[in-house]
């Protein structure tokens, strides 16, 4: 049994490597003793998004990458798989978490219903503070629901986590564009947590971007996950990050016959994680390194894409769909309306321990702070901010 292989390290390196510091040996030992509820609660105590993290975390560069077994010429403990087992058990057995009674007068708004806000709101509920989550999307969960590749995390699983947070007494106000309402929210609440993530994909700034058949990677993945969309026969994805790979593999699942990834740098510079790249290769996706996109051709809709190599050679790839995935933009307009919140290079500046911004009423965490990392980073930020807000409200207002 995998759980009994864990050495139960003291001050375990896997725990230190996890952004939320899940006590890995503790939860694994509990699995080994058959105490699955205790195991799940150990995980959720550190990381409310234990379920999605057990499916989407890049464990190779986190806990499993730090496991001492590597130095012992042994396979690292399969922490992700064990965590999934504990989480699956938990969600199959009347999931619920203890909360404190809502005995605090101060109320907190969390903008965005992604991992950062969910973690923050849950932490506040544990400490007796009422919390309300706002999101402009009809479904909560942020990129967990709309963005992350389907094969890793299906929307129903993302929504299970949301339901857990709802069951803790957090109120959700969905379909609400907070941009327009920020003054009203400021009036209604005593503290505001910004978990707004990042914006849509950057624009390329080349001719042809408005042709039908040209679709933002995030939009494409979101539609794939939550409704049905047509896919092209030949698809070109621009960029080679994890999102590009997710878009390419989603196109494959939807039935595209030929998929190309065009990247302006080389294989070694590719930002996607190693295992994501492996998956893409297995899907038969064709990679074009050191290739710059010049323009998109087409009369009614996308017909081909014109590319250039560093040596100046120009070539055309025939295609009927182009998916740019060159990184998400920053929500600078919105942040500009949050008075007094300092923003540097499009990222909210915070105190790392408490999540507090320059405007002391505002706290922030997740992608809008770290520039776009992973779910587990957003969960860690959210939890720290939840504690930070509670402490600030207590100290400042009694």
């Amino acid at each position: 049994m995998e759980a009994s292989r864990c050495l139960f390290c003291f001050d375990a390196p896997c725990t230190a490597a996890c952004p939320t510091h899940i006590d890995v040996p503790r939860f694994i030992k509990k699995i080994a003793t058959g105490n699955l509820r205790g195991s799940a609660l150990t995980i959720l105590d550190s990381n409310l998004l234990g379920l999605s993290c057990s499916r989407v975390c890049p464990v190779d560069v986190l806990c499993e990458g730090a496991c001492v077994m590597h130095r012992y010429n042994k396979q690292p403990i399969e922490i992700g798989r064990l965590q999934r087992a504990a989480m699956d058990w938990f969600y199959a057995h009347n999931p619920s978490l203890p909360v404190a009674p809502e005995n605090r007068a101060k109320r907190v708004a969390c903008i965005g219903a992604g991992p950062a806000s969910l973690a923050c709101a849950a932490e506040l509920r544990r400490r007796g503070y009422p919390a309300v989550i706002f999101d402009r999307n009809p479904l909560p969960g942020g990129l967990n629901t709309y963005g992350i590749a389907e094969y890793k995390l299906r929307p129903p699983d993302s929504l299970k986590e949301v339901e857990l947070v709802r069951s803790m007494g957090v109120e959700f106000r969905l379909g609400v564009e907070a941009f327009a309402k920020i003054e009203a929210i400021e009036c209604e609440f005593d503290a505001i947590f910004l978990g707004i993530g990042l914006g849509p994909t950057h624009r390329l700034g080349i001719p042809g971007e408005d042709l039908p058949g040209f679709i933002d990677a995030l939009r494409f993945i979101a539609d794939y996950k939550t409704s049905s969309i047509p896919v092209g026969r030949r698809v070109v994805v621009i960029g080679a990050g994890n999102t590009a790979i997710d878009a390419a593999t989603a196109a494959k699942r939807l039935g595209a016959q030929e998929i190309h990834i065009v990247y302006r740098r080389g294989e070694a510079e590719m930002p996607a994680f190693e295992y994501e790249y492996e998956i893409a290769k297995l899907d038969g996706i064709v990679f074009h390194w050191w290739t710059q996109v010049k323009r998109i051709h087409g009369s009614e809709s996308v017909e081909s894409i014109e590319c250039a190599r560093p040596d100046g050679t120009i070539f055309n790839l025939a295609c009927d769909m182009v998916i740019p995935a060159i990184g998400q933009s920053r929500l600078v307009d919105f942040l500009a309306r949050c008075r007094g919140v300092e923003v540097r290079e499009g990222r909210v500046v915070i105190n790392r321990e408490t999540g507090q911004t320059e405007n002391r009423k505002y706290f922030a965490g997740g992608d809008c702070v770290n520039g776009g990392r992973e779910v587990v980073d957003a969960a860690a930020d959210g939890k720290r901010a939840g504690i930070g807000i509670a402490q600030w409200l207590e100290a400042d207002h009694g």
Binding site: L7, F8, F10, D11, H21, V68, Y72, G371
Partner: protein, 450 residues
């Protein structure tokens, strides 16, 4: 090439010292013959007596970290087959395997005539020797047999005498470990005229309780009863008892060692403590008769490597190495040393020494395990993203120096705990340090004080 052929108590010959112990693997002739074909040197037949009725659900076990049957418990009684069938099969086996040892294990009510009769019939059937089962700790003891005899030296001596009145073959007495001092019964067996001893039988046990039904295992229609414990878990207890009877001057009998043997290594340990043969029950129950192949092969290779031609060359070699505590050298000092090149940084030695020993393993910059763990908890970790962090992650898995503990050798008492918990072989070594003092035992120290 090493020679394993064995002569037990000067009279029982067999190709090797590996015998099936009295139990399920030696229940019938067909099994014993298949075992001999697989390579076993002898077999002690499942205990003969008045046939009994067994219960269903008879065994339960203790597993450890996924390893099944570290300890086995049974509430089975002696043979449930008719005596004449067993005796006829003993005869057949002996006819077809004249060079293997077949020993009849016996248990009948405590009447001289009953013992006389079963001894005669077993020897007439062809048994090479007799083993008196004074050890079975459950069921039979409630009927005044088994360990009920083995726990009372006088009964043990008396029945052994009865048997010796008629026996022509060597008589072994199988001892129960469920007694304060096993030497007292061993001496009684000697007094009764026994030619050898078998030790140990199973240990009184309750293996566990089902946490849903609250019924202990094994479950017989909602009830359980204490059983007899055996298997790998009991080896240390068996070795100790064997050593005690092996060195007792009032015993001085050949011993067949039993208890927790699962391969040639454990067998060699019993032989090093003076046993002339060894018996196995749980291991062949778990893995089948085939395990004897490696027992023969492994023991021979080990003997060749050590330069032993026969078992006699090393039998009992470790006995002088076991003395009383008072004879140990108080001026011998060892300390733990950690090899930083193989240390994987699990810090199990560190917490073991802090919580379970003498607080002398340290991590640089931390006064206690709590401060060490707290520092990690406070550290903010993020997923490394090369695009954002500007540095490519380094794929090396070298142990960070701050996780490699070091031993304060002045404070180390040389207890071995860290060495025992370290998962990496040879990473911690216990090394001798010169104290400059001559060897001195506690006894000598006390004498010199007077």
């Amino acid at each position: 090439m090493a020679d394993l052929s064995t002569l037990f108590a000067g009279r029982i010959r067999c190709p090797n010292p590996f015998w099936l112990a009295s139990g399920p693997p030696a229940n019938c002739g067909d099994q014993v013959m298949r075992a001999f074909d697989a390579g076993w040197g002898g077999a002690v037949w499942k205990t003969l007596g008045e046939p009994i009725v067994n219960v269903s659900s008879r065994y339960s076990s203790v597993d450890l970290n996924g390893q099944r049957m570290m300890g086995l418990n049974n509430i089975e009684l002696i043979t449930d087959r008719p005596l004449d069938v067993n005796l006829r099969e003993i005869g057949e086996v002996k006819k077809r395997y004249p060079h293997h040892a077949v020993i009849a294990s016996l248990m009948v009510e405590s009447r001289r005539e009953a013992w006389h009769e079963i001894v005669r019939r077993s020897e007439d059937a062809g048994a090479d020797g007799l083993e008196l089962n004074f050890g079975c700790p459950h069921g039979m003891s409630e009927r005044g047999m088994g360990s009920a005899v083995g726990q009372v030296p006088e009964y043990c001596a008396m029945i052994t005498e009865w048997v010796k009145e008629v026996a022509r073959t060597p008589v072994l007495v199988k001892l129960t470990p469920n007694i304060t001092d096993i030497r007292r019964v061993a001496r009684a067996a000697r007094k009764g005229g026994a030619d050898g001893l078998s030790a140990i039988n199973t240990i009184n046990s309750i293996t566990g309780i089902d946490l849903d039904t609250f019924i202990p295992r094994p479950n017989v229609d909602g009830l359980s009863a204490h059983g007899g414990y055996c298997g790998p878990a009991v080896k240390p207890i068996a070795l100790h008892m064997v050593q005690q009877i092996a060195v007792d001057p009032e015993v001085g009998l050949p011993v067949s060692g039993i208890g927790g043997i699962s391969g040639w290594r454990e067998a060699a340990e019993f032989l090093l403590l003076g046993c002339q043969s060894v018996q196995l029950c749980t291991a062949p129950m778990h893995w089948g008769f085939r395990i004897v192949e490696d027992m023969i092969d492994g023991l021979k290779n080990w003997m060749d490597e050590k330069g032993f031609r026969t078992v006699e060359d090393f039998r009992g070699l470790s006995l002088p190495r076991i003395q009383d505590w008072k004879d140990l050298n108080l001026n011998y000092k060892i300390v733990a040393r950690i090899d930083p090149d193989t240390c994987i940084g699990c810090d199990l030695c560190y917490i073991a020494c802090w919580d379970g020993a003498h607080q002398c393993i340290h991590i640089d910059g931390h006064a206690s395990p709590e401060s060490f763990a707290e520092a990690s908890r406070r550290r903010i970790a993020t997923t490394p993203i090369p695009k954002l962090d500007g540095v490519a992650e380094n794929g090396s898995h070298k142990t960070p120096p701050e996780r490699i503990p070091c031993v304060d050798e002045d404070e180390c008492v040389g207890c071995n705990l860290c060495w025992l918990v370290c998962p990496v072989e040879d990473c911690i070594s216990m090394e001798r340090v010169e104290t400059g003092l001559p060897a001195q035992s506690w006894e000598q120290r006390m004498e010199s004080k007077c």
